[in-house]
């Protein structure tokens, strides 16, 4: 099985999520190879899980003030703050038949690639089911998966740096409640690359490209013209729409 790798790109939240869906469609019809992509989010953004309510999870007023985008993902799971400086995001989009039918086993398989990447950086990490990767007991990565039309899409984050204050301000916790204690409590549960390594972001990216592609036949390529066109459509018509945003 040959894979396509899309190297690190930066897009806004709507195009990022739309491109995952557009690639899922093209892999489904066989016009694109199974794909691994790496990307950043600019502007910074909050994504919520498919089943979440944006009014429950996101402080929309603070997001507007800070210029932070808000988006509903195609995948379940929780709300995530995506910081341009502090994160590398990956997506794996491939026929589901290439992965275990059991969802948790398939999380384990793909998260194992990221664990290996962290090992390449000298950071000992472990997969914790359902969908987390921990370093010294603290979360450094979370992932979410969907399977539609026979295609598995798993995307996930790798925390490079932490900006907990902004994270708490955009998620739905009132400003009065953003206490030092709350931040300290989060610091006890969440970690990032910079707490364990001096590696630059580029070095981290190269380490995970190596681990995600190890043992695979692959080629670096760009998303196709059709995929980009479809992603622009989905970005405008679906992911930016109030209907999608306020689905629940």
């Amino acid at each position: 099985m040959k894979w396509r790798v899309l190297g690190l790109e930066t897009h806004d939240a709507y195009f990022n999520m739309a491109l995952d869906e557009a690639i899922s469609e093209s892999v489904r019809v066989g016009s694109s190879l199974p794909t691994i992509r790496f990307y950043n989010w600019s502007p910074n953004a909050v994504s919520i899980g498919y089943f979440q309510s944006i009014r429950d999870e996101v402080n929309l007023e603070v997001c507007r003030e800070l210029g932070v985008d808000c988006i509903r993902r195609w995948t379940g799971g929780g709300a995530v703050y995506h910081d341009f400086e502090g994160e590398i995001t990956y997506s794996v989009i491939a026929p589901a038949k290439l992965f275990p039918k059991n969802i948790i086993e398939s999380y384990g398989l793909i998260c194992g690639w990221l664990v290996k990447g962290l090992e390449n950086l000298g950071i000992e990490a472990e997969f914790r089911p359902v969908n987390d990767i921990l370093v010294k007991g603290k979360k450094i990565s979370g992932s979410a998966q969907t399977r539609r039309g026979g295609i598995l899409l798993q995307h996930g984050t790798l925390l490079y740096g932490l900006d907990l204050k902004t994270m708490f301000s955009v998620l739905n916790v009132s400003r009065q409640k953003i206490t030092d204690k709350m931040i300290k409590s989060a610091e006890e549960r969440v970690t990032c690359i910079l707490e364990h390594s001096d590696a630059g972001k580029k070095e981290v990216y190269e380490a995970i490209v190596k681990s995600f592609t190890e043992g695979k036949d692959y080629e670096f390529a760009a998303s196709s013209i059709d995929e980009n066109k479809r992603a622009r459509e989905l970005s405008q018509e679906k992911y930016r729409s109030d209907e999608w945003m306020f689905l629940r």
Partner: protein
Amino acid sequence: MISYSSQKVKEGKIVKVETQFDNVITKLKISGDFFIHPEEILDDIEKSMLDLNRDVSFDTLVHKIHKIVNDHDAQMIGISPESLALVIRETLK
């Protein structure tokens, strides 16, 4: 009457249910940070609750959710038919 319940269920995720009812359930919305594959069955689960009497038993709710899950060969992660039924039942008290 509109009733709301939010619980961290034993399978690990947060489940929120908003129910509107008089004698029967007229509207029900489920949200949370769980996973269901395929995702669309949550709409079927919500629809299956409509017109049920507000005194509907926990066992009946579980049975209805299980049937939809089994009919679609679905997988629930971080949530189960039993824990979802528990939160729904809570809103009907």
